[in-house]
Symmetry: C2
Subunit: 354 residues, 2 copies
């Protein structure tokens, strides 16, 4: 029997999120039914709710940084049992048979992955709905275990902000001793600093604002460079092995490319379209530098980042909110007024559900 | 005693190249003195002669695809002897002590490499002069051996066009079975096709012109795609592991990026500044694609490409010219009327020297 689910949904681009009830699908044999405890608030939630990218189907329940407790499992589920603490990130399905899926890179599924919310379900063609909710049903393959001892509240953002920065640092080869620059001090940037440091890198935070220097240092950056200060930029020219660029709006990559050594890598994880002003070809050719992208991470790596963070005592800095303040949180997030991630305590939804 | 050298030099940006005599430096202990037999004509020779990049110091003798015979060696020279057939490419010196030099990547020398022509000599502050000449003196480290049996005339362009395409194919990891696209069918492009094929890749030549399809196939491309044909481009979407982009003028990378699989690599070897229209961030992020540059190759790899070509019976397609037709050759090269490299037979300089 379908489960009645209480959520906060956007019903139109110009409307605030409001309480909405809908029926979750009947669990399938490979499904894990999850009572949601916490859900992080990602900037893309806001983009979806406002239909900034033009493909939102309303009503939509955002939320893809989900931590919860298993309430039931389907007959074919092998790795989870009632009571387990689990997470769900940005994906809830993929074709499961292409080369990318077979490599555990479901985010690059050749047939397109199913987003946690706002995608058409591959089986029943309903729209998937996210974690601003008390309940979610997800196929086992797209569920991860919360490691023992991890702080559940601050772990929620690891499922998007954490994996989005961890995966490229690993993939592009950050190792102990490397010099890594992190551009931007938001939800992704502050995770990038912590993760790169835990990998043994020497980490420099690049910020446009002098006012963020102390904040960056208190967050553990070894060094801070004010990117608008030409002298500071010149002083670090050709010294970095990697740049992790988390800035999600158009900006000039060339001054940062100039900070990379030969064979240096500039990694884009913040979606910016197009890259303007354009990259200078000489900046790539004359030093064999590369500009590469990266999108979240596959399921094995999503488990890996949780385990890595538990082992290295890394958490995301969060501000807990109640779900009925989500619209204010959106406004504050848009204004950059969050250090560094809002997380919704889903206990606050219980009065609605009562 | 300095050697009197006969050359063809540009004396100003608006003047044709003409015969010029100057004194080569006295050989140093690590120097190899070389009688030049053949010299390839690279597009950058034209750029230098016309001062297109704004830093030419006149008079300048172009030419960095030099094949010759050793006439004398300095006391410290270990690997060459009088009579050896040798080559000189785009570099004649570097700091020899930085990390890049120690890695055999002299082209990325942290202190800047010395170009074969148009650079200030590190020791005596004279300007280096290139291979449109009967004689050159080069430090042993920047000399390569011509492998036994290689055709000397058609080997000359391997020292620039060959290494410039070989080095990135190796560095970025082209292996047997990979699908490689080569963009542009000029001096670099036709070498890229041959080299990638010899590495075991399946090679597709991308050209803007239907008229070049047969030419590309007769040059050994497994497939040809006319890049202005949207249907042809759509048919190969997301199928390539690598693109080797040899086009030296601004063009849109996005349609080619769309032809790359996830984790695909777009390699720039033709200097184009800036990259306009700009690259779309999503084209990189959503498939973890990279855009990377590459500049010629280091000295060990320059020897390697010669040996590889000798072993695999690869040559550059050349049209031999006499040096007194160099200005016509420049005009024809500018018009794209060369298949695919002019090579100067330096025997034709002897009448001047007589």
């Amino acid at each position: 029997m379908p489960t009645q689910t209480h959520s906060y949904a956007a019903h139109a681009a110009d409307k605030p999120l409001e309480h909405w009830q809908f029926e979750r699908r009947d669990p399938r044999p490979d499904d894990v039914s999850i009572e949601i405890l916490y859900c992080g608030v990602c900037h893309s939630d806001l983009h979806f709710a406002k239909n900034d990218w033009g493909f939102t189907e309303f009503p939509i329940v955002p939320g893809h940084e989900i931590v919860g407790r298993v309430t039931a499992v389907g007959a074919e589920v092998k790795n989870y049992a009632e009571g387990d603490l689990v997470g769900v990130g940005c994906m809830v399905d993929s074709c499961r048979e292409c080369e990318a899926c077979n490599d555990g890179l479901e985010q690059y599924c050749l047939n397109g992955f199913t987003m946690t919310y706002g995608s058409e379900d591959r089986h029943d063609a309903t729209m998937t709905q996210g974690g601003y909710s008390n309940f979610v049903v997800v196929s086992e393959r797209f569920v991860v275990k919360m490691p023992d001892g991890i702080d559940l509240k601050s772990a929620a953002p690891l499922l998007c902000a954490g994996i989005t920065t961890y995966s490229p640092l690993k993939h592009y080869g950050v190792k102990a001793g490397h010099k890594v620059g992190v551009i931007g001090m938001g939800g992704l940037g502050h995770m990038g600093v912590k993760l790169a440091q835990a990998m043994g890198a020497e980490v420099t935070l690049f910020t446009r604002s002098q006012s963020k220097v102390e904040e960056a240092k208190s967050n553990g950056a070894d060094h801070v460079v004010v990117s608008t200060d030409e002298d500071q930029m010149a002083a670090v020219a050709e010294t970095f092995d990697f740049m992790l660029d988390t800035v999600p709006v158009a900006h000039d990559l060339n001054p940062y490319l100039n900070c990379l050594r030969y064979d240096g890598t500039h990694i884009l994880v913040g979606v910016m379209d197009p890259i303007e002003p354009p990259v200078t070809g000489m900046n790539l050719i004359f030093k064999r530098r590369v500009v590469g992208g990266s999108l979240i991470g596959g399921m094995p790596e999503t488990q890996e980042v949780l385990d890595f963070c538990a082992k290295n005592d890394i958490t995301c800095d969060v501000e807990m909110i109640n779900i009925d303040t989500i619209n204010d949180a959106f406004d504050r997030m848009k204004a950059g007024d969050v250090r560094y991630r809002f997380v919704i305590d889903m206990e606050s939804l219980k009065q609605k559900a009562a």
